[in-house]
Symmetry: D2
Subunit: 460 residues, 4 copies
């Protein structure tokens, strides 16, 4: 068992079970690079302000680099009795550079140190997620642009409602992921705040220069209250909220991919490389990727609840409960990144069954609204026109026909206003091309939306 950094006042050694229970090294070792990056900046600041000498700083920095190299070479030894990544690094540093290592922790505490580490980690990962969301959005726009001639039923209540362009449907997801990206960018503002130098909770008596540390680590802002700095995990919860919402979008997209892959819809076929089979049923080709993504939604919600629950009612400032903040965050980061990556690769590998989609769009009275609109455009109040069209649907249904399969004289029974031009009016093409209201599914609108998306993606 190693010596603890705090055993001056302790008479007994830590219980072995407690050591294992309280150790976080198996989790927080992932933060090693950020911990060392932060320590190096801290050293530089200590030297600049004269708290340690320039030579001491150089020794420490070289030592920290050596520790980092050991970790990355897989030569570093981990040990529960050293509690966490901070102590592991400092302890090894001592072995390498000797007594001067004991000066590294001047004017800081593990409380502000770990706050810095998580912020550095989450800043890097949030930026990576923002970048990969851009790639995903590009993949969506590509798929949309390659299929501007594909029509499918738009659904409400999973009932066929009105025909839409597949490109329009896909661009709805573009919008969702754009909002996700915006939320991560907003979150990044609040992640990107430098807490080091808050020390245990009250600030420090050393003449440190926190703005210099911030500058070295490229933080635009320095935390304004030392107690808040070490007590705050808002940014992690906000990240998990944004991640949860992003997973909602993935779950919706996945649900549609799964539906569309079913024999009943048969709108798409995901390539063999992105599906898997059954150990018992030889015919199966399952949309496993989509299902797993949908299933992973739960774990991100769970991480959000874990951290909200953890922080609820904690008094100021740092409490050991907060050690449990890392796993939910790490897990959500990894989950989200893998879902984005796998979707970005899979989308171009989806074959669109254009004819099946079109046939579906032409069956199920999807032109009933347009029949009502037709009547309304001839002066019938909309509510009346709606009822009139509803009766036509009921009649057609009883004849096992679509509206456009009825004869003109049959249609005229529902309103004299109906003329021969109705048949042209009720074609899928016409219905789509007439929906030119801003944001509507008419081809020209969708093309503009795609163009607009291209512009947005270029500026990022």
């Amino acid at each position: 068992m190693s010596e603890k950094p705090w055993d001056g006042r302790f008479a007994e050694k830590t219980d072995k079970l407690v050591e294992a229970f309280t150790s976080s090294i198996q989790v927080d070792k992932q933060l090693y690079a950020y911990d060392i990056e932060g320590s190096i900046a801290h050293c530089r600041m200590l030297a600049k302000t004269g708290i340690i000498s320039g030579q001491e700083a150089d020794t420490l920095i070289q030592g920290l680099d050596a520790v980092k190299a050991e970790i990355e070479a897989g030569k570093f030894r981990y040990d529960d009795s050293l509690e966490d990544i901070h102590m592991h690094i400092e302890s090894r540093l001592g072995e390498i550079v000797g007594n001067v290592a004991k000066k590294l922790h001047t004017a800081r505490s593990r409380n502000d140190q770990v706050a810095l580490d998580i912020r550095l980690y989450l800043r890097a990962e949030t930026r990576a997620i923002i970048k990969s969301l851009s790639d995903l959005r590009k993949a969506i726009v590509n798929l949309a642009e390659n299929h501007t001639d594909v029509v499918l039923p738009g659904y409400t209540h999973l009932q066929r409602a009105q025909p839409v362009l597949l490109a329009h449907h896909l661009m709805a997801y573009y919008e969702m992921f754009s909002r996700d990206q915006a939320r991560f960018e907003d979150c990044l503002k609040r992640i990107n705040v430098m807490p080091l130098g808050s020390a245990a909770l009250a600030g420090t008596t050393y003449p440190i220069d926190r703005h210099y540390t911030a500058q070295l680590l490229d933080f635009p802002n320095v935390s304004a209250n030392s107690m808040d700095s070490v007590a705050d995990r808002d940014f992690a919860i906000e990240f998990l909220s944004a991640a949860s919402l992003c997973m909602v979008h993935f779950s919706r997209l996945s649900d549609e991919m799964i539906l569309w892959s079913s024999s009943e819809f048969a709108f798409i076929e995901i390539s063999d490389a992105f599906t898997t089979g059954s150990s018992i049923m030889p015919q199966k080709k399952n949309p496993d990727v989509c299902e797993l993504v949908r299933g992973k939604t739960g774990r991100v919600f769970g991480s959000l609840i874990a951290l909200l629950t953890l922080m609820k009612s904690l008094p100021m400032t740092y409490n050991r409960d907060m050690q449990e903040d890392k796993e939910p965050v790490f897990d959500a980061v990894n989950t989200l990144k893998s879902c984005i990556a796998v979707y970005t690769e899979m989308l171009p590998n989806i074959a669109i069954r254009k004819e099946t989609m079109r046939q579906a769009a032409e069956k199920g009275f999807l032109n009933a609204t347009d029949l009502a609109d037709y009547l309304a455009s001839k002066g019938m109040p909309f509510r009346e026109a709606h009822g009139c069209s509803g009766r036509a649907v009921a009649f057609a249904l009883s004849q096992n026909k679509e509206i456009h399969d009825l004869e003109l004289w049959e249609l005229k029974k529902f309103s004299d206003m109906i003329e021969a031009d109705i048949f042209d009016f009720l074609t899928t093409e016409q219905m789509i091309s007439r929906r030119t209201s801003f944001g509507g599914t008419a081809l020209e609108n969708v093309k503009q939306a795609i163009e607009q998306a291209r512009k947005e993606l270029k500026t990022q």
Copy 2:
């Protein structure tokens, strides 16, 4: 039972149980004012674009105003068979203005209409919450400013750690609520988008002008994809996330108020007007307000989970599940508003027991860190200084004394570097005044933080 707006194709009447089960009027009637505001703007747009005549628009608007007046006068009759607030208003409008009422629903659907209503509602409420958070922050700054001479123990792990100014402690909450406000402002950007004119899901064939409607309703943005417009409740989930985080802060503040009101801490006394008693124990004076606020945290988390769960895996576009979006949002809005209001009123009614706080700050070895710092400032590496101070604590503890109660010769046993100036160095005043690192608890820092807060509050 009323006629349904959609019964053209239906042969049977709705089952009574189903009518009650699917009706949302008891909940969404709260949206009446927004629904009417949206309908009036819609009318004006329909008239401007020539879809209805100016006279028709005038009639409809007068009728809508009349309906609103009836509702506000408590004279409006609600009925489950009319399903929701939209149908209630339209139906009554028909009774007042006659057949022209049937034109109101031209070029829109309940799907985009309800999306508009919730956005209008949530925009107003979010603005109100932002405003009231400013008031709360002012109350915190006032309390801090009035008590810049009060010292109490700063805690980590609920163990006394280092002395801090009460004003500094309070300003930590100022920071938290400032971040909450910033999050609500970010959320507002995404709420403040106009969905009307997306119609059922695909846009509309009428030559509507959505930007004009947006202008009338003071929306800076118009939703870009009609399918997304009616399928999207992101803004509500984002609101609930921000609200959950704000409640985390209230739960932490409340937990501290409850602790501080206990006999054991006895740091504060909440005035009689803000506490309640017991039906059986005559001596009790309970911090009920704080407890209730803390307890209400759960219901806001619950609302967040409710809406995340609801939206998970829903295929495009509108599904009736989404009718269930309103209660969690309404409940969180009301909960949050009441918590903000009651705290803003209660804070000035809290008596600070300055002497008890100070005594607590002077007992429990809160100057042990400073003893280490003292040694480190004389050249001892920090880790050694820490161990040295730890041994002094253990010794003092065994003598049932504080460090500053030891004799110089006793202290010298732990290090020769300790001189007579140590006693001055370890006073609470000195310890606080030395913590001048940016964000630290030194009085001058805290005063600057208060001044900075005043500036921020003024510009809002």
Copy 3:
């Protein structure tokens, strides 16, 4: 403002905002009948033990009955300043019976009183839910029994897997709701414990007889520790857990009903009386009931999280946070009851499209597993047989045929073991009738399962 039952030591009156904030009367007035029932039993016990006289008890009980009658006649006046239902009833009792009313609260506290009320409420509601789950299970068995001749595809991954009987599919839900019922019954054991007489937290000095009170209120058990009695809401959380799981089952059933109602599946048609239409699309007939049930799942999960969050970290014993326990419980009770009721009524109103189901079962290579089994039964190791059948599927797919549409010589290319008897072997009827393993879909098994279910339902 009314006098408080505790204002002896208070100098100031309660702030109006606080009064509104802390009042629970709008919520807990639903408990009035249980509160009065509990008070009557308490009176009887007080008289039996000589703590009050028999005459006093009679007066109190008559008064309580009178209060109950007023409430049920809608003549009772509610007022925030009276805080809760307990104080409302006691206060009105005082007006009716005079000074003796002040003896009612002897040897109890609101802490144990409210614990009793919630247990009485939840006991009654849990029993009602158990009863209604039996009715729902009967409705499922009826539907199954009426359709033992209907075959449809069984799905995994929403891909057609193997043919099953509809009755077998439905009986899967019977199993789920049976488990739900068992869980509610287990929960009931822990609800059904009598807390009254624990007083504020420490028991009481009066010579009460808690077992007598329990007997009067038909409780088989008396709580064993007074502190636990007033601090415990486990039973409510356990109820919400069981309710959440039950809603998971409803959400799964609803999702299937929605899928099956789609044009793509078209397996069922829910009657007009249990569907609703669209205000804009005349052809729509939406499975709203199923969607709403699915959507309501979230609110029950939310209630569970609300109460778990609330109870987390509360120190002994009663804390005011716990006042917030009622709304999540009431809401979940009402939600669950309405979902059970509406499904029990709707199930018999679902038309089964037998032919569509059968056609689906015969398309999509659902006999590929049986081809593998056929080969394995002739001695080929299963893994090889699986590969062989997989290649046959790939070939048939390339020919745009089903396996059973291939010629014998074509099939023989995949294995010489395949003989002419294969065609009979691969019919849907044969496939189903061969699955006679216990719990399998063969008709005889399903009939036995139905019979077994009938027996279970009879004994309840």
Copy 4:
């Protein structure tokens, strides 16, 4: 890349990213022992029913034992392309025993196989948890029994309420953990059901004997519906619900331990071996174990939400989403077990500061209720007596005294009924010894409760 058990119909190889994304081996390898145990029982059943020969079964079983030995010796090679633990074991088995390995999967599917594995795992772990909860309860009873002479304040609202015995306070936790144990036992009934032989979803055509398999694996019940068998994860959710509630109890106990360890309460001192220090503040001795346990509550709630979310709305039967069921369950099992273990070891290492507790119990008007009871026992209606005692408290407070410090003549100002015997009546001893109502804090009651607990623990 290995061959897949299902690649007969596939033309392309699985994408590498997909292989990594869909592989579960890193998680489900923990199930190896259960997987092999299940396979061995399956083999025996296949041999008994003549589906394979006795010799084949022997070969397979020997092979499976060899695989197990390799895994336990750390010599087993894992590979993402083999997807999961089932395929890893079967593949290695094939290398060891040759072609006969391909017969192992006869009459089963991974769908029922994994359901069996999780049930075996969760049965073992639930039994272990039940056992360890017994140990914890013993530790609580021991602590209680060793301190029957310790008095401390009982709290409501974290305000001192009435004096209680520490043993009584501790026994409240005994009750909570007893209920937890009962819930796990109820849950075990529903875990302990044998699903194997349900095959993919519809049962199997082989003449298997599921009851024999159940007997071999010591399952009292066999699942009744094959579709439900593979679609069901209720038992896992129920386990997580029970675990969440158990963590609520740990969070409450931990919160009290943390409070009691503070300088303000100073009721207990946790031994050095179970506390840790600070890297910056030499005096700190933090109740980290308690804080971590409290913090871990969130992750168990999160796991519950993860699995509830996952299962919501999944159509029949198995969907790949369900692969995500394991991590939340494994994590909750490990978390709960470690919390139980660490508390069971820590409880005997807590020093009780008897004098501090007693002093706290004698300050803060904890006898105000008894003063009211005194008056009520002399005939004053309780509500009046309560007011009277409240005024005495207010007066004493103004004199900075306790009630029992007042002179008789001072007390008489509040009621003539007060006599000299009041002083004896209001002592802590008297107050406790009078609370003899069943479940109350009187010593004799608490001793009986301890005795009863001993009996319960013996029969387990």
